[in-house]
Amino acid sequence: MFSENSNSLNNVLLGKYDDVILPKLDILEDKRKEMLKNAFIAMLVWTAMCGIFSLFAIFLIKDYPKIFITALYFLSLYLLYSSTKKDFERDIKKELFPIVSDDFVLNYEIIKERSDSDTLYSDLYIIPAYKYLYYEDLFSGSYKNVKLDIKELKTEKECCCGFFDKKVFKGVVISFEMNKNFKGNTVILSDTARHASPSKNLHHTVLEDVEFEKKFDVYTDDDVEARYLITTALMERLNNLQVAFNTDKISAAFRDNKFYIALSSKKDLFFVGSILKNINTKTQFVEFFKELSSVIMLIEYFKLEERTGL
């Protein structure tokens, strides 16, 4: 799907491993062991505290809820492990970035993990309505002078009267600066029989590509602008993207001179550096850079770096 340039971008990223990470591997490995040791000590201390509390509680509290307290204990251990693991993965990524090359700049940002107010993606209609938004990774930068943002995120909504949170979306949302000027709002969603518009300001429009129409519905507030943005070439490329990324769903939107693509994925993307494994191996970085370069190469795939564009 991608040109040979994807290999060269991948090589630039892997070159970063040789230049920046390799010299720091011993330090990162020591850091990993230190974090594991601290987590282990914290686990022992917590276990001791819980044990002492339980001993007192068994004698002092009638009908002491053993199962509930045991479940809470194991849950707390899982949260401790999970938080340590996440901190370690973020530390590695902080070390890797920023990555700068002749036509490529990429930064890794640490942002607040959960956002209850960021409704951008549901306002774009590329993700169903949600209550909570959890950021897992956030990359930003530019490639061939095209600005981009890559966000791996997860969204949830409340269900069962707020007792549980149900996952709405998990995957990657990428936004690119468009090479075309436009004013309106156009959304591409997975095909449905009803063609129900996500907004009263948008109406369904039918395009020429039969294969595209079988997979997607287009909603827009300006029919001419929708066809200006969604050319026959773009339709063909979107058709192939689902297969290439092996994803369940793709949705896209054009708004405010930006092109947004949401790729849902069950797999945890951009994973690097397991806290339980030795960090002195290149293989885990290879997969990470391959995923990253595949996403960035969408700029070339959609020809966003060219004035003629899609």
Binding site: K180, N181, T205, V206, L207, E208, D223, V224, E225, A226, R227, Y228, R307, T308
Partner: protein, 190 residues
């Protein structure tokens, strides 16, 4: 339930059905008019841009004066035409001629490096290309609307309603015969 009541109910249902089909056909026709108008809007943007390009080109392109004058005359002709579906064939013809002449001007620009690198001309050409893409998009919209109207006019039962209301199908925008011919590279690489 008497026969009269049944007949009245059937007549009312038929009337509602007829009204529904009538509204649908009228909406499709209006969509064609809207699409035609959107092509006109984009064409006007192009025609408004042409004088800017010609003014800049005139300063440099001494030997292409007749070409520049031809485009100016064609533009004036198109501007004076009324905007309705009856003129569509003539408009397509004139627009095709303007596109052809402008294409010749852009090709001739290759002989004037100073003009090609002029910042104002570069911006004007980029804007012109954007407008061309909008015109192509507007034509696609028009063809889509024309297709929907054609289906409504030709397929029963909406064809019956369209016939009663005097609504007819419209022609699609199509490429000129010259444009459909395969390009022979030998003609250019001499």
């Amino acid at each position: 339930m008497t026969l009269t009541t049944i007949l009245i109910v059937v007549a009312v249902v038929l009337a509602f059905w007829f009204y529904g089909v009538y509204v649908s056909v009228i909406q499709k026709r209006n969509k064609v008019l809207e699409a035609f108008s959107s092509i006109d809007v984009q064409l006007k943007k192009r025609y408004d841009l042409i004088p800017n390009i010609l003014t800049i080109a005139q300063k440099f392109m001494d030997h292409e004066r007749s070409l520049i004058e031809d485009v100016t005359k064609l533009r004036t002709q198109v501007y004076s035409m009324a905007n309705n579906l009856g003129n569509i064939d003539k408009k397509i013809e004139l627009d095709g001629l303007i596109s052809k002449k402008m294409g010749q001007i852009f090709v001739a620009m290759e002989n004037y490096p100073q003009l090609k690198s002029d910042a104002t001309m570069v911006t004007a050409m980029q804007t012109y290309n954007e407008v061309e893409e909008h015109i192509a998009a507007a034509r696609r919209f028009y063809n889509s609307a024309a297709n929907e109207l054609k289906n409504a006019v030709e397929i029963f039962p909406s064809s019956m309603v369209a016939g009663m209301c005097g609504i007819k199908a419209v022609d699609f925008f199509r490429a000129e015969e010259q444009e459909r011919k395969a390009v022979n590279a030998q003609d250019y690489l001499k």
